[in-house]
Assembly symmetry: C2
Homo-oligomer: 186 residues x 2
């Protein structure tokens, strides 16, 4: 077969695209949308900036691809089950927040497209959580627990607040369990 060493052209292209995306995620997560340049992403991935533009067209589109994946959706259930699902997801994100989530969180306050993407993810979560809460304020309670947990993720990963940045995930979940339950189980 007429295949170059290391795979077909199509495979090489996919590998290069994946590498570009991986470095883009890390840089978006570290410095945010505005301070990320195509040039820096290309340099990190070891390719020409023109190739990044060829594959992704614009920084806005590269960002949209980089944050694509979304957070794990919540299966739902009783308020008690939803509280545990939220705490499980929190635990996972405390151990290691996926870099595409960090890229989104880092930019959501200053890049309108990131804010929109974040709001739509938050809306899905809020709807799912809200359906499990037997209360007239179900939607508000769902939005509040969402916002609380966003604050924890930001404080740990992006702001590196004292004591929160390096605390044991198990201990954090244990302390927050009654607080999360208080909001989702009226």
């Amino acid at each position: 077969m007429n295949t170059p060493a290391g795979g077909s052209r199509a495979e090489q292209k996919r590998a290069t695209q994946a590498r570009i995306l991986e470095h883009a995620r890390r840089i978006f997560a570290d410095v945010g949308y505005d301070r990320t340049t195509i040039r820096a992403v290309a340099a990190a991935a070891g390719v020409d900036p023109g190739l990044v533009m060829h594959y992704y067209g614009s920084k806005a589109n590269l960002f949209a691809q980089a944050i694509d994946a979304g957070s794990a959706s919540l299966p739902g259930g009783t308020p008690d089950e939803v509280a545990e699902q939220l705490l499980d997801r929190l635990h996972g994100s405390l151990v290691e927040e996926p870099v595409q989530s960090l890229a989104l969180l880092r930019s959501m306050l200053t890049h309108p497209e990131a804010a929109r993407a974040f709001r739509s993810t938050a809306r899905l979560d809020k709807d799912r959580i809200g359906r499990s809460i037997p209360d007239e304020d179900a939607e508000l309670r769902a939005a509040l627990v969402n916002a609380m947990l966003i604050g924890i993720a930001l404080g740990r990963h992006l702001l590196a607040l004292d004591h929160l940045a390096d605390a044991d995930p198990d201990r954090i979940v244990e302390i927050l369990r009654p607080a999360v339950r208080a909001v989702v189980e009226p």
Copy 2:
């Protein structure tokens, strides 16, 4: 007296500086540090960009002045009293978050100086709250309640999350009271 109409030169200067700072705060709060320009601040305040530079020297210094003021400090006391103080402060910020806080929050994820300023404010709060919690994890609990409430402020004012953006502050405080207590009163 040789005073021009509208006050002395010194008074006029102070009034102009205050007007520049007020517009700078609003613009920093709306678009963040990176997207704020001296030119835009000058235009909003109705002065020449050179005058903004003359008074403030640099965008970095203008930002430092704009966010100066800090959040109201917490008097401290029993865990129960601290929980109520936090909820009172939350209520105030839900009714109207001061524009200098918004300027700081908007930029804290993407501007290193804003992140530093935010961390030092958060540290003061955390120390004050932590001293009131009779538990070996006092500092972690204090950092967690801080981060939770930051998430609520961001979700309401900067991300405008569904249901949270326009909810009644009294109702929010009522829903969050048991959650805040659960964290500060082990």
